[in-house]
């Protein structure tokens, strides 16, 4: 058995195609991004090595930092919205009839393409015929705003469909975690006279903590690199009011044809995502993880 299963040719045949592919498409580009960032390059002509010029320009680039600020704001909103999702998942896990159906309905927006969702929400926010302003007018708001054209509102107007799209996904994860908590714990607490809120706060919440930490990382890192809806709905506008890090990178590379600078932004994005993952993991480390058998 060992002899057959340690045949090097067979192992290479099974592993190498995928390994080479992931090296070529994921790992080599990551290294190249960092390297391109050291060059002045329009993507087609010759590269000119400029050392850390792009990176030092990036650190002084107000437009970049404002886009980074927008990404961070989205990260904060996404992380806070997790509380709402957790509450809904708690309600779902109360063993109500139909909770399985509800859970599935919530997931539907997550399965649809960002382009379709973005186009749909463009219509929802349409200044005169969109359902948002039709509704506001029907309850007596005289001049509802043009949501996506208003620099002070546009970012929040974009957050709503982003949170809407991901809600079902997080509810699904929390629901699965809460379902894993043995009912015996809950029953024991009830015998001791605990009410529903005490059970949720003192028993379910601590036991779901590991999963909650994972979702915080997912929400924060996912927000920091967020791109899709913003690119389709506003393309960073009006006048940079909704630019985020990934869209800033895209614009530098594929609109301004500054591939060197765009790569520097891309590399920065990678570093920020990895650091954010590391910090959140550090911050949420508990000394004694709670076990339930």
């Amino acid at each position: 058995m060992d002899k057959v299963m340690s045949n090097k040719k067979m192992i290479a045949l099974y592993v190498l195609p995928s390994l080479l592919l992931i090296m070529a498409v994921v790992y080599i580009p990551i290294v190249l991004t960092g390297y391109y960032g050291l060059n002045e390059w329009n993507g087609i002509g010759a590269m000119k090595f400029v050392g850390l010029d792009n990176y030092s320009a990036l650190i002084q680039d107000d437009n970049f930092w404002s886009s980074a600020g927008h990404s961070l704001l989205l990260a904060v909103f996404s992380a806070l919205s997790l509380i709402l999702y957790l509450i809904v998942a708690m309600v779902l896990s109360a063993r109500l009839k139909g909770s399985n159906l509800f859970r599935k309905i919530y997931l539907i927006p997550m399965l649809l393409s960002s382009v379709a969702i973005a186009q749909l929400w463009l219509k929802i926010y349409h200044p005169t015929n969109g359902i948002m302003n039709s509704f506001l007018e029907s309850i007596g708001v005289a001049n509802p705003p043009a949501w996506l054209a208003e620099p002070s509102l546009v970012l929040f107007a974009l957050f709503i469909p982003i949170l809407w799209q991901y809600a079902g996904f997080y509810i699904l994860i929390y629901y699965a975690a809460l379902k894993n908590i043995p009912t015996s714990l809950e029953e024991a607490a009830k015998i001791d006279g605990a009410n529903a809120f005490q059970i949720a706060y003192k028993i379910k919440l601590p036991l779901a903590m590991e999963v909650i930490k994972v979702t915080i990382v997912l929400a924060v890192v996912g927000s920091l690199k967020y791109f899709d809806l913003i690119y389709v709905m506003t393309d960073g506008g009006p006048n940079g009011a909704s630019e985020v890090m990934a869209s800033y990178m895209y614009h530098q590379a594929f609109r301004a044809y500054d591939f060197g600078y765009g790569s520097a932004v891309g590399f920065f994005l990678l570093v920020i995502c990895l650091i954010a993952t590391w910090i959140i993991r550090k911050m949420t480390v508990t000394k004694d993880t709670i076990q339930y058998s």
């Binding site: 592993v15 995928s18 994921v26 580009p29 991004t33 997550m110 015929n129 359902i131 009410n195 690199k225």
Partner: protein, 294 residues
């Protein structure tokens, strides 16, 4: 079911008014669930309605009025106009090819990692898993220039290669759990009988993993069907565009015809909705397992 729930909820509060209170609390929970469901579905219902209306109806009637005279011709019109049929077929074949490749290659790797004995197997697994943490956007510029040099810009192969590579980690992760749990007695017996590795993999192991292959396939299909940024960056000619980018361009040209836009969007999401109708359990399972994918 209802009575056990009621018993659980009422455990703490006993007395005269408890059953009324209980019913109230119960109703409150349902109201929360229904409100959330309405919020999630409402935009999509509105989309379906305006996809069947004319501009006049959209502009003059209340937004949630039923389309009195459903204009199914909106769908026929956009299907043949503006290349939507080409985009749709491109989406189908690219999704299918990329998914099949990912699942087969991923199964081979998972088999080698869980069953074969070799140095570096945990390192290789680590490489696949770490790849999940890398933001797609940070690879975009180098991928563009690499494909450019290889003559693969504006070629569907650029999409298939990136889709397979970026979905490989999550596919392997879902497969791993299943392979570890798979009993090995059959394989051991097959080896003793002189079965070759290839025959064992393709004729014994692969058929046993049918259910997990279904789960990974459907998740891959959803990701591939919806993918936007790579198509948008690598593909420029209409004959190779997929639905996501095609829809984006098409709508750019028809910004004023609400019925046509609605119908186009409905066509683009319909395959996913139909798949969801029949395979919701597998999709839920795969999404939960895929929670680490960014």
């Amino acid at each position: 079911m209802t009575s056990t729930t009621a018993g659980q909820l009422g455990g703490a509060s006993r007395g005269k008014g408890s059953s009324v209170l209980l019913k109230l609390g119960y109703a409150l929970l349902y109201i929360v669930l229904i409100v959330v469901a309405a919020l999630q579905l409402f935009p999509l219902v509105w989309l379906l309605f305006f996809s069947l209306k004319s501009n006049q109806e959209v502009f003059n009637l209340p937004p949630l009025s039923l389309p009195t005279n459903p204009r199914w011709e909106n769908y026929g019109k956009v299907w043949s106009a503006g290349n939507i049929d080409t985009y749709f077929l491109n989406s189908v074949w690219i999704t299918v090819v990329a998914t099949a490749l990912t699942v087969v290659l991923g199964s081979l790797v998972t088999y080698a990692i869980t069953r074969m004995k070799w140095k570096g197997s945990s390192l290789v697994l680590g490489l696949f898993m770490v790849a999940m943490m890398i933001p797609v956007h940070s690879t975009l510029i180098p991928l563009f220039s690499m494909f450019n040099k290889a003559g693969l810009i504006d070629h569907p192969l650029s999409l298939i290669l990136t889709y397979v590579a970026f979905n490989m980690p999550i596919t392997i992760m879902i497969l791993l759990g299943f392979y570890y749990a798979l009993p090995r007695e059959v394989e051991e017996a097959a080896i003793i009988d002189g079965c070759s590795v290839n025959r064992m993999f393709f004729q014994i192991v692969l058929p046993m993993t049918g259910s997990v292959i279904a789960t990974t396939s459907i998740i891959n299909m959803i990701y591939n069907w919806n993918e936007f940024i790579f198509v948008n960056t690598f593909i420029s000619s209409d004959s190779f565009k997929t639905l996501t980018v095609g829809v984006q361009n098409f709508i750019g040209q028809y910004t004023t015809d609400w019925g046509a836009i609605g119908a186009t969007l409905m066509i683009s999401i319909l395959p996913i909705l139909v798949a969801f109708l029949f395979l919701s359990d597998r999709i839920v399972e795969g999404m939960a397992a895929g929670s680490v994918k960014g």
